[in-house]
Symmetry: C2
Subunit: 335 residues, 2 copies
Amino acid sequence: MFELQRHADNPVLVPHQDHPWENLAVCNPAVWYEDGKFLMLYRAAGDDAAHRIHLGLATSNDGVHFTRVSTEPVFSPVPGNFDGGCVEDPRIVKFGDWFYVTYAYRPLPPGRYWLNEQSLAFMPKEPAEAPVFYRQNMTQSGLLMSKDLKSFQRLGRITAAKDDNRDVILFPEKINDQFVMLHRSKRLVGEEYGCAHPAIWIAFSDDLLTWDDGVLLLKNTFDWERKVGGATPPIRTEAGWLMLYHAVDDAGVYRTGVCLLDLQNPTQVLSRLPEPILVPQEAFERDGLYGQCVFPTGNVVVGDTLYVYYGAADKCIGLATCQISDLLEALKNQQ
Amino acid sequence: MFELQRHADNPVLVPHQDHPWENLAVCNPAVWYEDGKFLMLYRAAGDDAAHRIHLGLATSNDGVHFTRVSTEPVFSPVPGNFDGGCVEDPRIVKFGDWFYVTYAYRPLPPGRYWLNEQSLAFMPKEPAEAPVFYRQNMTQSGLLMSKDLKSFQRLGRITAAKDDNRDVILFPEKINDQFVMLHRSKRLVGEEYGCAHPAIWIAFSDDLLTWDDGVLLLKNTFDWERKVGGATPPIRTEAGWLMLYHAVDDAGVYRTGVCLLDLQNPTQVLSRLPEPILVPQEAFERDGLYGQCVFPTGNVVVGDTLYVYYGAADKCIGLATCQISDLLEALKNQQ
């Protein structure tokens, strides 16, 4: 059984008591590595009752010790904007000089969802004529452009307007001259879609704002999986696209799985490990706003080392690593 | 030949020299009438080189003399937002207690488009991987909710991501339990779409954010028409939906046409006048940022009087009226 190795200094980022916007929780970061520097764009929230969720930025030279670049968020929900409630769970790719960031959002603040029985976000439910996006305070996913991860150009929605859809992740390069995107639709569920629970879909497009549903890529298969969603941007290896994903089981425990996709046709799953490679076990993963949860959203490669950054219990950020060659070996043995 | 009657006090709104955001141009207003009061939400721009475009609000008790409610815009493009360049040409309907405003926008300021040969807005053209929406600084149309037309909830894009589409107008009520929308796509042009130039399409939906292309409703027919687009929200009458539209001819002159749509099946055009009902002729319609242009965007009914508010030469706002019974008579005679 293959497992990621937790770093001894975990958690690598915790809430900052002097910053009201991030004094309660930091989690689910995107991470980019370039020129010897790690950039971490992380989800952050303070102890306000509305629970607006922001993005903060921190940097590191070793991938372990991170320094915040500012006392303020770099990206925030602006009340009244389409993403005026919360901005969450960024993922980063880079084309040319520009970062392209996918993120989840709601129009209104979710409130303290972890205090509700089903962790449901606030819903106004009215007015009757308003789009379901507003009435249900539904999650959509959007696209940002940025040159520095400090200022951003919002480009708007990249998921269907009437679909609870997050964990939208771009591949880091075009395949067959098309952009490729993973998403986790709650609309595409049922017998007619081939999955009984929300699953991972893969879509292709020549324009980063224009996407159709694509095709089903990965659904719940093992007993530790019920709902599954993408985790981190897939990584090109000689053996295929290395793709981490998350799975939540019937008890609500979030674990991390891994699979390998065909390089030229990533709709084909070449291999998938039957056991999770990361399971909540440390105290900071078991207890938090949403306990029993590890939720990777960023990964970078340095040499043969894969750095996996994950939200832990919606409260802080952990780091786990492995040798890519070892992980590929495990996946190869599973084929 | 039926013509709207210009009001003697035209133009009814002109730029305000003390307001930097509207010291150059005001035009293309949405107008709502309720409880004896006219609310005018109008497009406004100052003499900045970027030519950001805002929305201002003015009110009137007689529909002729308007008073601005503020020295500031009520709605502005926020740099970096999806509509960060300009917000333009609002149209208003109201369901329950909420106004729903459709508007056109660009991600980046258009610049002084009227100084270019083809009145083209600024385009960054790069980066290559960016969505065409950004690279071409393309017009999309979006939806707002508001209770007072002073503060707004942005709901995002309601047109396709890769389509230059403005003059998006909601019908003021559901028809057969569906919302109905007019739009003027530049993508749906060509033999396969049944129109050689951009035309008016009509679409139906059960959700105000989710729209397909719908069907072609009205295309250029007369010699004063080349490109046509919706003008004002259609008005229910006993004879059918009274619908004003604009048409631009080969010389770039904007005129106003009118037609009547079937009440139960508004894809059916019952009647259409062969001559325009408003043609640029006054000095303030002939000369401005874009000369030879009348562009109605708001209409209200008070008794038997139809008040039509129009942008004149992209510079100021005019009012023209008629008796609805006379206009319907003209349309009936044309059937």
